[in-house]
């Protein structure tokens, strides 16, 4: 089958990343890129990539079947809508939109035009995430009741428009949308009951530079999400508690381990000195009741994302990142902001 010709709109960090990946894939072909910044266009030309003269030029090109929108967040909506109306299929970088209402407008145009419209939730294929999910899915630790998902930087929001509210900056819309999508994806059939969140503004006066969030699912799972950016010492990427064991995935390179209990009820222990007192409760288990095990690492195949896009366009497949999932994630983003602004727990409405 003939490859899908792709135009990339917005040739910044992620635009460049898509261009590089597309160049490696047989099923896709890079038709060219467009950016409002002449310097970025010059970079593309230097790299031997065709550059469009305007967004209209992209849309007028009959060969372009798919447009990847990798611009500032605030212009995803008009660009995606215009592209679909011009007959193009569309992948938007995340966050797909800055509000649920905007997303609904975009989805309406997708339905109206029959064009593919989805978002690049690439982190569903991250090794660390899949390694964590595998532990949960295989019941390796017994029933998992707590997951903590943290990403911590130390340089605030480094530069450019991601610091600016008008362009959809801030960490909830940046890393947050990934970590929250991961939480929702692994609990796709499970009702999310409530959301508590707190945003931080340590290094930035305009946008949140991080947030803490507690999600409560109807199956009893307590899921914590943190993105912070003024941390000079970091906590593990994943911390997972099951009834019969715990696991840590330290980082993206999958350092970490599991500790499993094989004799839960054997809880005899000698009280430990803890500060000025003693503690029986916090005394460690004796060695014969627990053992360490290496993480069973799972490698993600991100190529499945574009593979699915190809199958949607050529073989009538269903898109992997669905409109329903996109709406749920954006609803959650709005609940995070609402909880932080109101200082209240937000009841999550799965039906809205």
């Amino acid at each position: 089958m003939k490859p899908v010709k792709v135009a990339i709109v917005g040739y910044g960090g992620m635009g460049g990343w898509h261009a590089g990946k597309i160049a490696e894939m047989d099923k896709f072909e890079l038709a060219g890129v467009w950016d409002i910044d002449p310097e970025r266009l010059a970079v593309a030309k230097e790299r031997g990539i065709h550059t469009f003269s305007s967004f209209a030029d992209v849309l007028a090109n009959k060969d372009v079947e798919l447009v990847v929108v990798a611009t500032w967040n605030d212009v995803h909506k008009p660009l995606c809508i215009e592209a679909m109306r011009a007959g193009k299929n569309v992948i938007s970088e995340k966050p797909v939109a800055m509000s649920l209402k905007d997303l609904d407008d975009m989805i309406a145009v997708s339905k109206e035009t029959g064009k593919l419209f989805t978002v690049h939730q690439n982190r569903r294929w991250d090794d660390d995430y899949l390694t964590m999910r595998n532990i949960v899915d295989k019941n390796t630790l017994g029933k998992v009741f707590r997951i903590e998902s943290r990403v911590q930087g130390s340089r605030g929001i480094p530069g450019d428009w991601r610091r600016e509210k008008g362009h959809g900056g801030g960490m909830v819309l940046d890393w947050g949308v990934h970590l929250l999508d991961q939480a929702l994806t692994m609990n796709d059939g499970v009702k999310l009951e409530s959301v508590w969140a707190q945003t931080t503004m340590v290094t930035n006066e305009e946008c949140d530079d991080g947030f803490y969030c507690e999600l409560k699912f109807a199956n009893g799972l307590s899921y914590f999400v943190e993105v912070t950016t003024n941390n000079f010492i970091t906590l593990p990427r994943w911390y997972i508690l099951g009834e019969n064991g715990s696991a840590v995935v330290e980082d993206w390179d999958l350092h970490g381990k599991m500790t499993l209990v094989h004799n839960w009820d054997k809880i005899d222990s000698v009280p430990v000195k803890a500060g000025t007192g003693i503690s029986k409760t916090m005394a460690p288990r004796t060695d014969e009741t627990i053992h360490d095990a290496p993480l069973e690492t799972v490698r993600g195949d991100w190529g499945q994302y574009y593979g699915n896009i190809f199958d949607v366009l050529r073989n009538g497949a269903q898109q992997t990142v669905t409109h329903r999932q996109m709406r749920r994630c954006l609803k959650l983003i709005e609940a995070v902001f609402a909880s932080a602004a109101q200082g209240q727990v937000i009841a999550f409405d799965e039906e809205a």
Copy 2:
């Protein structure tokens, strides 16, 4: 000055601990112990300690000036009140009472009788806590905006009455009361604005076996408290974030470190591979902008607790753990339970 003669009521883990400590102090003298369990009385006798025949026997003893109540939590109230009415000064083990209303009844009797009435909040003298406070007080990390205080066990609630709701069991009333008192004590003049909490019941069906709690103070400090008991891998005891550095106190033995930034604005960095993508935001700082430093360890002198009791009784000093602080801590405990039960953020009323 003559030593203060002490009777200990409840010769369990903490009763035995008080007895041992009192035996070491010149200013105090152990008059004897009483317990409802004959086996515990037998243990005391074996150790050459005088045993009382009943609680009435304790109260009838004219030499006994101070009664330490180290019983189940649910009987602190009647025992403390009866002891004060019999002319005894009283130290209660924590939690001092199971409700604010109960505590107010106890404080009323203290005022009515003029007898000392306080609670053994020994963990204000824990090395790890004082080491953390020293970092905050000295501004070593710049303004501290986030403190995380965790105690994690792996054996549920090990045995006895601490598993039973009727006796005031559960982890909020056990370790929680310490960690929450620490949070309040270091923010004694700062308004606590709100409380979010979630209790856990992983290993016990009757009492909470842990909780997560977020405290928001009016000075902008976000303070997290966790007590959990089914964790086979642990996170650090303290995690502290300041504007110009982070610190970790790993454990009660004060392993840990600080990492300080001496050139915050130099944030150039090379994007890192992070899962299936790249990240500029989460790329680490270059080495020349940060440096590690050892923790400045602070050793607590728990003897100051009993030293203050002596000074109150002999020299007219003010008690260190005040009625106001005891009420504030119990109000917070009630807010934690209320937040967990209602699934809501509780506005904290400092004036109630």
